[in-house]
Symmetry: C2
Amino acid sequence: MANINNVAKKARVSIATVSRVINNKKYVATKTREKVMSVIEKLDYKPLYSAINLATKRTGNIGFIVWGEHFSEIEKFYSQIFLGMEYSARDSDYYILLTTVKEKFNPKEDLPRFLKYKDVDGVALAGRVPTSLIEYLENQGIPFILIDYGIPDKVCNSVVMDNYNGAFQAVDQIVKSGKKNIGFIGGSYFHPSVKDRYRGYKDNLKSNGLGDSEYFDKFSFLKNVETSPEIGIQGVKHLLSQNIGLDAIFCCNDTTAMGALSELKKYNIKVPKEVSVVGFDDITLSSFCTPSLSTVRVPKLEIGKESYRLLTEIIANPDSTPQTSIIDVEYIQRRSS
Amino acid sequence: MANINNVAKKARVSIATVSRVINNKKYVATKTREKVMSVIEKLDYKPLYSAINLATKRTGNIGFIVWGEHFSEIEKFYSQIFLGMEYSARDSDYYILLTTVKEKFNPKEDLPRFLKYKDVDGVALAGRVPTSLIEYLENQGIPFILIDYGIPDKVCNSVVMDNYNGAFQAVDQIVKSGKKNIGFIGGSYFHPSVKDRYRGYKDNLKSNGLGDSEYFDKFSFLKNVETSPEIGIQGVKHLLSQNIGLDAIFCCNDTTAMGALSELKKYNIKVPKEVSVVGFDDITLSSFCTPSLSTVRVPKLEIGKESYRLLTEIIANPDSTPQTSIIDVEYIQRRSS
DNA sequence: CTGAAAGCGCTTACAG
DNA sequence: CTGAAAGCGCTTACAG
């Protein structure tokens, strides 16, 4: 493999000049630059990253951390976000190191190697993530961003989707279709995304003159456990048992909506005629189930790309004030509403 | 951050000695070693990978390449294999760099950066992968392994599951349940895994005295296109139209079996009573569909771990003769058969 | 068992 | 605009 010395020698310049050329620095005579370029071409010279990294005191790595549980879910939500980051990274000089972290995370023992050895320039945390991990990164001064997550009382750099407006719009569509008694089913109430979706639901109903606090009491089914089809099933059972004339359900996400759909089927309740159902996320299943699920599409790849942009910006400028990128979502009309 | 000089000075030894200690080399007096260790501890010293890599002329990276199409599929087959590799890599000193490659791959333009810059010590190729990529790696002398794939006329280091025996056993179970007219539905006939499963199917029927070439002609539905539920649907239609007393179907994988199941439902044919169905892979859906699908379980994490072992062995020993690791599979009895 | 020194392949002031 | 030289933080013969 050719190195910088070979190139310099063959081009009859110093290695400093070669370095200037490959880094596109100014102050290189056009003729010199061209000559060096042609030699680089001829020798098929590629600079060695470990040498660059050593000299510039960077690592060239970005960590991507996600719960093992989340990564192994059927839906590839976080894998797609990762892929979005990877797409961006391809054209740059960072590698994305994907790793998972387990439920009971202990910073002393379970630290990914790239953190232990300070072998990343920054880290992206996808979804819910141990608080102790976040604190560790803060203490160590490692630049990081939160994706689709947030912590109360803590302002972090983050990328989120527009949960509030997505929910607001979805519920608006339900109302426009003539429904009046619209339930909400949700789990993971600790998750900021769910909170915002719930807010969007309530605010829309209020703005449409439909909901007040009594209404929300009756029509909300919220559990503080991880969302799942099971929550949807329980939610339907509960709402139905209340005898409140339920004619629509807005679920905090598609997974929950899947459970709701299957439970309604059991009761022989027609969707969307009797009860319409709308979810959030647009997971793959949503377009394939029967009836296909109306939902709010979350552009995962775009979230990944924006995450890359934000994180590299922060790495380059560690002392900037924390910012939050909000990714637009889009209501998708299908058969269930 | 402490470096090797700080440690050496504080421990009153040379950096060579510190290096020996951190690399667990012999020829260090116990007392010296202990002293150095305690200083390392006190200073929280971690060696810098870019320096190590530069000095040892390694990269510390392993590439993991998969088709974009495969990575984005619902089923997380290859993601799980990746995760298995990652689990192994955690305790070692390699990072796994995951990237995707597109359908029409051009080695001149679409080379992942870690290949272009020779920034990996080895590469794992997961699933079907462009032949030109494999040739590129061979020409460049970059150590690589094939996972769940193979190329005719080319002996490569590879990790595969025991497709033949898995199919053989599955069909054996079908026969034992009393079925006699057992169809085979498959796509991706170019894929060695499918070929081996088909062979297992035929050999079992032969050994049970059920199948001959005429039988296989009648009972086989094989397409040379990517497997999908659609293939399963077509297969059922075809086999049924033949009026051959079909009473069981062995599908080349679960995805195909899903299509078969749904099509049988349309014809109101009872599974498994009238026609039993068995798949291969044990994807997540298989235990959740109705009826749940009997299948052959492929241990993805284990494949990943074995892949890591094999690849690192090859990296350490590039001139060893190519070897193939075969991972055991397991028949899983569920409701569909 | 230990240390001095060269070397890995880059970047970056500094001097000209 | 260009080059000589120091430096990044390690490893590795070599000599003792």
